[in-house]
């Protein structure tokens, strides 16, 4: 019952905040990784290099598909902004469904920017089906295909270290975020600009993806405050011996 209430309240708040567009632009704290991504996008278009977005190997049929969906949202943004570049962005993934969705997302991004003719289906790639074969396949893209920035977003495991290392070897900056704790630690240690925790989900709001994305950030903050209050109240009640 509690789950239903949380979902219903979040959905109502999300819809309400989306339709009641803010009159003033939201004040967002700077996230260095996303500031760097802006620069990387501009650089990619200007000097004819490409962006490599690696979406991880998250299975959309599993419960932990949120990071994957957030990564697809980011890919859409990247495709729209860099579709007119000499070298189109390449998206690699380690899950067949995800690779199909990546192709579709890239195509939608090209359509939205009016450059549908430039879309190449082979830019959305399945690089391997197991964690390490996926990493091995994606490493070659970073090394061989004139990549100017490596964006790792989605569900990764420890294999993220191999991707970060391969980018480091060719002096390509890596920006990354994952919902996996091991991958987060690896990205913190290895990536130039890591996204920690929910920053991965906030990225689309920072990249001007629309009022719904800003609204969802507000909903996350509201729910976080509710949780903090519930945790504090629970601790206080425990100290008082109520339960």
């Amino acid at each position: 019952m509690i789950e239903l209430i949380v979902i219903a309240a979040s959905a109502s708040l999300l819809l309400l905040l989306t339709f009641l567009r803010r009159k003033t632009p939201p004040k967002l704290r700077p996230i260095p990784a996303l500031t760097r991504l802006y620069r990387a996008i501009g650089l990619s278009v200007e000097d004819g290099t490409r962006l490599h977005a690696s979406l991880g190997r998250g299975n959309l049929l599993s419960a932990r598909n949120g990071a994957t969906l957030a990564a697809l949202s980011m890919l859409r943004y990247l495709a729209e902004r860099t579709s007119v570049s000499d070298k189109p962005p390449v998206a690699t993934s380690g899950d067949p469904i995800l690779s199909l969705l990546a192709q579709d997302t890239l195509k939608a991004g090209y359509q939205a920017s009016g450059a549908e003719d430039l879309y190449q289906p082979t830019t959305g790639r399945l690089s391997g089906l197991s964690p390490f074969s996926y990493a091995a396949g994606a490493m070659t893209v970073v090394r061989d295909e004139h990549v100017s920035a490596n964006v790792l977003m989605g569900n990764f495991g420890a294999e993220a270290a191999l991707l970060v290392e391969s980018a480091e070897r060719v002096n390509v900056p890596t920006l990354g975020g994952s919902d996996d704790m091991a991958a987060q630690a690896i990205l913190f240690a290895g990536a130039q600009e890591p996204l920690i925790g929910e920053e991965l989900f906030a990225a689309s709001a920072y990249l001007d993806a629309g009022p719904a994305h800003t609204a969802s950030l507000t909903v996350q903050d509201a729910l976080r405050w509710v949780l903090i209050l519930v945790l504090l109240a629970g601790a206080a009640l425990k100290v008082l011996g109520v339960f």
Binding site: A11, P96, A161, A189
Partner: protein, 204 residues
């Protein structure tokens, strides 16, 4: 067409979600999830075609790494043909898996250990700030706490006091905080997809 796609996706999403709360809809939920599993199987086949087309294109354009792409395609077809005729449980196929694929993945895992160590060493060179120092100090503390001082067993203070405290109090608390953030992000992202605001299945 895009509207129809979105409507179907939203309807199916809502039905699957409702299945968790309305017992009468569990049958429909299972049916839809069953269909999704079949589609996932078909997607695996498309994924393999994608792999072949990407590497085939590399070979045709004589791009860097053509030899590896050719090797991949030959190995893929050889494995496919052998497995088709002999069956996946045949000893030759098992040998292929246990003799080539597993050692190759184990080798990558071994490289990972060195890679992580190198990344940790590089961390201070790139960004010297409080968080990085805390990160490395914690990693070092856990390593020392996990090590044994032969023949005396675990290192006093580190092994029996500091490591468990960092692991079970600090680390657990931080991890739960991060996971709560991830869960909230997943919830709002899921809702955006459910309301067709984000459409990973295409459309403007």
């Amino acid at each position: 067409m895009h509207l129809l796609t979105a409507a179907v996706a939203v309807l199916i999403g809502l039905l699957v979600l409702a299945g968790y709360f309305v017992p009468a809809l569990v049958g429909i939920q299972n049916l839809l999830l069953g269909w999704a599993m079949i589609l996932a199987g078909a997607a695996a086949l498309f994924g393999v075609f994608n792999l072949i087309s990407v590497h085939g294109e590399k070979i045709l354009r004589r791009e860097k790494g053509t030899l590896y792409s050719a090797l991949l395609i030959v190995a893929l077809f050889a494995t496919f043909v052998f497995a088709l005729f002999l069956g996946p449980d045949h000893s030759a196929i098992q040998l292929l898996v246990n003799g080539i694929i597993l050692p190759a993945e184990a080798a990558l895992m071994a490289i990972l250990t060195v890679t992580l160590l190198y990344a940790a060493m590089r961390l201070l060179r790139r960004r010297v700030d409080l968080m990085n120092i805390v990160f490395l100090a914690t990693a070092l503390l856990i390593l020392v706490g996990s090590a044994t001082l032969l023949p005396f067993g675990e290192i006093p203070l580190f092994g029996n006091l500091l490591r468990p405290w960092v692991n079970e109090v600090l680390s657990m608390g931080g991890a739960r905080g991060i996971l709560i953030g991830v869960a909230l992000g997943t919830l709002t992202t899921g809702l955006r997809v459910l309301f067709a605001i984000d459409r990973p299945y295409g459309g403007k």
